[in-house]
Amino acid sequence: MRKKWKALLPAMAVIAFAAAGCGGDEGSGASSDVSVGLVYDIGGRGDQSFNDAAAAGIERAAAELGITFTEASPNDDGSNRGELLQLGADAHNLVIAVGFLFEGDAAKVGAANPETSFAVIDSSMIDWAQDPPAPYGEKIAGLVFAEQQGSFLVGAAAALKSTTGTVGFIGGVRGVGGLIEKFEAGYIAGAKAVNPDIKILSEYITEAPNFDGFNAPDRAKDIALAMYEGGADIVYHAAGGSGAGLFEAAKTQSEASGAKVWGIGVDSDQYNTVDPAVQEYVLTSMLKRVDVAVFEAVKAQIDGTLVGGETRYDLAVDGVGYSTSGGFIDDIAEKLEEFKAQIIDGTIVVPTDPTQA
């Protein structure tokens, strides 16, 4: 009997360390009396993408603005989002929720806690059921991004750099209210703006309600390899954690065929976050500055300028953009900046629906 118990110990230690790695609530010196409850979407920190960008924003706010914060993430089935927002409101002036799935709960909890400010990433926090549509509350902010504009620029970059005339797009999950389709639409429009005859291969990993597509690098790799085999030499992904598989596929394909193929990253500058072995295959990344949105929301809370309803982060305010790490697109930077200026001044209106791109 005693022996059996000892055999269990290593397993228990592993569980313990795994649990420890996922914790980590920290705050820093309090030179501001603002405290923030940051509620991530499922998975929390460590996704190399969305949640981590929010974490970077709050850490910068803690360092530069001296606020304190507490972090939390929902149960794996997302069943306790509303409870987390309420717990956040119990002890903080500002609650930031990372992801549009918090919308319904944030509207409810926001109404029940009028003294607390709320900011929801990726949702406009506008009640479309009202006529005319109006914000859910004066202190309930929605921080949204013009992902199609950033995607347009990386689409243009892909078309400019492609030697085969074929590029690819991998979406994580189709049918989440057109959220990922927005990336696809911008990418197609950008590629076609450079080369109207370009061939664009497009595929989604899963369809809602199956959300595995955001965390299935193996399937992203298979799809990417098939696209490279099909003649694409540059593939863009909007698939969160699945993206790692794309860059692996680029390396595999490049080494096998001798002709270099590329991947394009999303959300953060993936040149800096991927495995160094595949770094040289990251052509550029579409930047979605969730970190900036989080930082600005905290700043607005301190200044008392937080507004209810939609705040849009687009190219004009550098809320979206593209990365240049690695220097692979330096030769086309001028052309991309031209497109960027045209989008900002309204000469180019980027579609959000792939069927119109």
């Binding site: 479309w128 990922i180 199956n210």
Partner: protein, 374 residues
């Protein structure tokens, strides 16, 4: 063996399982430098609030229904792993059907519930039919049917039935089927709570599906223990060959048991539907699998399953307060759930053996006595 002793043995097993889980998680918390007493204190303090109790009941409701669905099949030695697919498909179809009609309240609600139960029954019944006609093990077929439901049917139908607007184009912020009229939604129980204690914080609702879940529990108890069908069900589960010899048609029983299990599974999604009024692109998933754990913990007994659902709900709800108080990482609640299940399985087996030994001993003693007399 005396009735009292039987009861003690029955209760000792789950109590031991929970106790073992407490000891294990305390050790883990100590290992990672958290104080288990502080963590448990935070959990209990949080759970003592009325709003949290409502959260626990709201969470326990679908878990309970799911547990009962699994238990019905278990009583016949059928393992319905397909509750997940059955409930999601039923949830979606019921949400869509409910949004298409306008009826007086009672009829509208009844219509939605009947649609949900029919879809669940049909989808689970398919696994039963496959088993009796083609000998496909229900474990295999229900797992496959889950994949077909979630990644196939639901993904396709939700696109077909999606209400207008898209988040991407900024014309809506809510994705899913068209909303059901107010008349189709079970009212919440806030009024009842108010009578007993006090008003809830605005925006908080105690789900009306709780009543439905209690009805399901009572019907399950009566069906299994007080009807001929229930007797046949238990007999087939206990010894299929004996039951067959006794005149219980095994094929019909399998299809019936799977269908009833599926009908109950169809009600799992009602907790979410009656609260939100539509099927979203991100419904709460995993309830079908959690139901297996809850049924195991509750020993397929209607009260035991309620106990299991409440424990799981309490732990789920505690993950938030642990993170905000910083007392422990949220994963500790998942570990506790896992350990409770494992420990319960072991403890039940030990109690079962203890009971067998006891029976053997008393039988031997009786035999000895009888011989001495002869």
């Amino acid at each position: 063996m005396s009735a009292l002793r039987r009861l003690v043995l029955a209760l000792a097993a789950p109590a031991a399982a929970v106790g073992f889980a407490l000891v294990t998680s305390s050790l883990i918390l100590l290992l990672i430098g958290s104080n288990p007493l502080v963590a448990y204190g935070d959990m209990l303090e949080h759970a003592s609030k009325l709003e949290t109790l409502v959260d626990i009941l709201n969470r326990a409701t679908p878990l309970y229904v799911s547990g009962i669905a699994v238990a019905i099949a278990f009583r016949m030695n059928l393992f319905n792993i397909g509750v997940e697919g059955q409930f999601l498909l039923a949830f979606l179809v019921a949400a869509h059907a409910g949004s298409l009609v306008s009826l007086p309240a009672a009829l509208h609600i009844a219509f939605i519930l009947v649609v949900a139960m029919s879809v669940g029954a049909a989808y689970a019944g398919a696994a039963g039919v496959l088993k009796v006609t083609r000998g496909v093990n229900e474990v295999i077929s229900t797992i496959m049917l889950n994949a077909i439901a979630v990644s196939g049917l639901v993904a396709w139908l939700i696109k077909e039935w999606q209400a207008g607007g898209s988040i991407g184009t900024g014309t809506t912020t809510r994705v899913g089927t068209a909303p059901i009229d107010e008349s189709g939604l079970l009212p919440d129980l806030n009024g009842v709570l108010e009578l007993v204690t006090r008003d809830l914080r605005p925006g908080k609702e105690l789900t009306g599906v709780l009543v439905l879940a209690l009805v399901v529990g009572v019907v399950y108890h009566v069906l299994v223990n007080r009807t001929v069908f229930g007797f046949d069900l238990r007999a087939s589960g206990f010894n299929p060959f004996a039951a067959r010899v006794g005149g219980v048609p095994p094929k019909r029983m399998i299809i019936l048991a799977m269908s009833i299990s599926g009908a109950v599974a169809g009600l799992v999604g009602m907790a979410e539907l009656m609260q939100s009024g539509y099927f979203p692109s991100n419904p709460i998933q995993g309830l079908g699998y959690a139901g297996i754990a809850v049924a195991l913990l509750g020993r397929n007994h209607p009260v035991g399953i309620a106990f299991g659902a409440l424990i799981f709900a309490f732990l789920d709800v505690s993950s938030g307060v642990l993170q905000f108080s910083g007392a422990a990482p949220r994963e500790i609640v998942v570990i506790m759930q896992g350990v409770i299940i494992l420990a319960a399985v072991v403890a039940y087996e030990m109690a079962h053996r203890a009971r067998n030994r006891e029976e053997a001993r008393s039988a031997a003693a009786a035999l000895h006595e009888a011989r001495a007399e002869a």
